[in-house]
């Protein structure tokens, strides 16, 4: 094993990890806000990839350019999902937790089925994007441009989210609703609007991730599944309810995955992730940055 191979693995792991972080942040945001796990998170990612793909196929808009459009579309979609489904699921008098799980889980299955029906199960990809297939090589270390762009977008999006939560009125309303949904009603904050905003934001973030990924990953109706599992682990590892934890967790997962594949057979590369996850929940059950 050469030093170059180690650096290359770490670099690849970091780029992938930033993307895992971006995917997980949306999930953590929604969970932190209202204690609801969005089991359709992977399908949100899948829809974003398709939107990006179709914008490319029909209007020749590069995935990098369409990313804000896709994020906006997913924002609306996320808010609508909250208003049409989750809002009602949360009102359940009995077994509220189960009702929430099954409503988003059911949504995931419906979305997958519809995607297969309308888009066919064929594998799509964006063949000629601006950055697609291009690579920067620094001292023998290869950094694929689409992933680099993804990492940059991840960092910007996270910074933007951080600013939004801590510096704007809406962000403060978000935080306040998170702390005490009952009390905010007394000061005139509409809980439903805040929750819808939260869902919209969460979906928009995963939408960004999907758009970026469309330039280097294949697209098919089940594509969300493998990323969603990692996102759940990432959120649990980083700390339930912590947006910062989810982002850091993503980076850790990416790095651990890459280094595991370096020392163990690649078919065992997820073992490292789950081992670290187990270790963290043993020592610190609320996750690395969890506040609950």
């Amino acid at each position: 094993m050469t030093a170059q191979a180690i650096i290359q693995s770490l670099a690849s792991g970091l780029l992938m990890g930033l993307l895992y972080g971006l995917i997980a942040v949306g999930l953590a945001l929604i969970f932190g806000l209202m204690d609801v796990v969005n089991f359709a998170h992977g399908e949100f990612l899948m829809i974003a990839m398709y939107v990006s793909f179709f914008l490319f196929a029909f209007f020749a808009i590069d995935p990098l350019l369409s990313a804000p459009l896709v994020a906006a579309a997913l924002f609306v979609f996320g808010a609508v999902v909250y208003l049409l489904i989750v809002r009602f699921a949360m009102r359940a008098k009995t077994n509220a937790g189960m009702v929430q799980i099954f409503s988003t889980f059911g949504l995931a299955i419906v979305m997958r089925g519809l995607a297969q029906f309308f888009f066919t199960p064929d594998y799509r990809s964006v063949p000629h994007s601006w950055l697609g297939g291009k690579t920067i090589s620094v001292a023998g270390i290869f950094l694929p441009e689409p992933q680099l762009a993804g990492a940059l977008v991840s960092i910007l999006a996270f910074a933007g989210l951080y600013f939004f939560i801590h510096r704007t009125d809406f962000g403060r309303a978000l935080e306040a609703t998170r702390e005490d949904p009952g009390a905010v009603a007394l000061v005139g904050i509409d809980k439903n609007r805040v929750f819808a905003l939260g869902w919209g934001l969460g979906a928009a973030l995963v939408g960004l991730a999907g758009a970026i990924m469309a330039s280097f990953f294949y697209i098919y109706p089940d594509v969300g599944a493998s990323f969603a599992l990692i996102a759940y682990v990432t959120v649990a590892l980083g700390g339930f309810g912590s947006v910062f934890g989810a982002f850091a967790g993503g980076i850790i997962v990416g790095l651990v995955e890459a280094t595991t594949a370096l020392v163990l057979p690649p078919s065992l590369k997820s073992v490292g992730i789950y081992a670290v996850y187990l270790l963290v929940v043993f020592i610190r059950p609320r996750g690395l940055f969890g506040s609950m």
């Binding site: 690849s12 199960p121 294949y218 890459a258």
Partner: protein, 414 residues
């Protein structure tokens, strides 16, 4: 009204005795179960397979003018012109769902035989259920060598398995070496279900026997979100030949990641699967000029056997695609099965089994470059000669073995 196997049997025997030939045409039908992934990650393979089987069904049930078993005349003459009906079931690439669907097809749909399954891992469970109910299972497109070595009596495979394919690859390497090409080191790259594992094992074994050095043997997790660590290892090994055994999704990601990490192998010789899929070439075909994949089918054959081209057109009208290695085998699988049912003159599982065991179809009466279709005692056809195809200028040309080749191999690939 539902027609059971017994009805078909009774109907056929009774009519044979009592009714004049002409009146028998509408007596009955024979039901065959078709198990494929119709949802989930491999759903496209199931949908393509369905089109292949419907094409075969048209050849069997309608009067066509091909030199194939059952092509001329309508339906199965041995069963009084009975028509074949297909019942499709979805196994979602899950061996346990495959097992349940096989059981349902046999007990509720009363199928006379089952054909499938794309994934070898599913073929394992489906064939076990068939064995228990004494219903023949035709493995149309599974290539794992371990499948026919389980002592099953009702298992049949007309197409080659991965050891035969791998042997053909090494025959090809040997031939190139004799002409002075340097091929000493190999990198194996295979997914971690039965297909990739069996393929990797077969290649490692033959490599050892024939004195090739495996410098990296990577078994990877199927449907991984990232393959950069794996490609990194392939790159540092830098073998003379990269030999992947991957389904479509992983194949696309592999090729993309190779380009991103600046790994350009001298040659890629692939074990079909994803590397026979149009979707893969749509996605990354520009990076695959000169890739070699094994196959059982080649459209080149249409030059020698015009019916291959005509049947391909029939399939293309349904699916929008040319026959590939998988769909051609699926087509032939149903023809071979229906031929056996016809000769069995019965819809009974055991009689069909015996008829399958007695199958002897010359290669010219298939759409494949095979010598013949004749099963050994394990249900394997050892006369199914594999071919090697090279992707040149957007299509595949046959380069090996010499008797089937229409072009010289381009080596290194580019």
């Amino acid at each position: 009204m539902t027609i059971t196997r017994r009805d078909v049997l009774l109907g056929a025997t009774a009519t044979a005795a009592l009714v004049p030939l002409a009146a028998r045409a509408q007596t009955s039908e024979v039901v065959i179960g078709v198990i494929y992934p119709f949802s989930g990650g491999s759903a496209q393979q199931g949908i393509d397979a369905q089109k292949a089987y419907e094409t075969a069904l048209e050849v069997i049930n309608k009067d066509t003018d091909f030199d194939l078993p059952l092509a001329k005349g309508e339906g199965l003459p041995g069963l009084g012109g009975a028509k074949v009906r297909l019942v499709f079931a979805d196994h979602q690439a899950d061996p346990q769902k495959g097992r349940a669907e096989a059981e349902r097809l046999i007990t509720q749909e009363k199928v006379s035989a089952i054909i499938g399954t794309y994934q070898s891992a599913v073929a394992v469970t489906v064939s076990q259920i068939c064995e228990r109910y004494q219903i023949p299972f035709v493995s149309a497109d599974n290539s794992s060598p371990s499948l026919h070595r389980r002592g099953l009596k009702y298992y049949f495979r007309a197409s080659p398995h991965d050891e035969m394919y791998s042997a053909a690859m090494f025959d090809f390497f040997d031939a190139l070496k004799k002409k002075g090409t340097k091929i000493d080191t190999l990198s194996l790259f295979h997914e971690d279900t039965i297909f990739g594992t069996d393929s990797g094992n077969a290649q490692a074994k033959i490599a050892g026997e024939r004195g090739y050095k495996i410098v990296s043997d990577i078994k990877y997790r199927a449907n991984s979100p990232s393959l950069s660590a794996e490609v990194q290892q392939l790159k540092s090994a830098n073998a003379d030949v990269l030999m992947p055994s991957s389904y479509t999704t992983d194949g696309i990601l592999l090729v993309k990641t190779m380009a991103e990490l600046g790994y350009k192998p001298n040659a890629i010789v692939a074990q079909d699967a994803g590397f026979s899929e149009k979707a893969l070439y749509d996605a990354v075909g520009d990076k695959l000029e000169g890739v070699i994949s094994r196959g059982t089918f080649s459209l080149d054959l249409a030059q020698k056997r015009p019916m291959v081209g005509k049947i391909n057109e029939m399939f293309k009208a349904r699916s929008g695609k040319d026959f590939n290695d998988l769909t051609s085998r699926q087509f032939m699988g149903l023809i071979i099965l229906a031929d056996a049912i016809n000769r069995a003159k019965s819809a009974d599982g055991e009689k069909i089994r015996d008829a399958l065991a007695a199958t002897d179809i010359p290669g010219e009466q298939t759409i494949m470059p095979w010598k013949r279709v004749k099963f050994d005692e394990t249900g394997q056809n050892n006369d199914a000669d594999p071919v090697l195809l090279q992707y040149v200028g957007g299509k595949f040309v046959t380069i090996f073995p010499p008797q089937a080749a229409i072009a010289e191999a381009i080596w290194p690939m580019k």
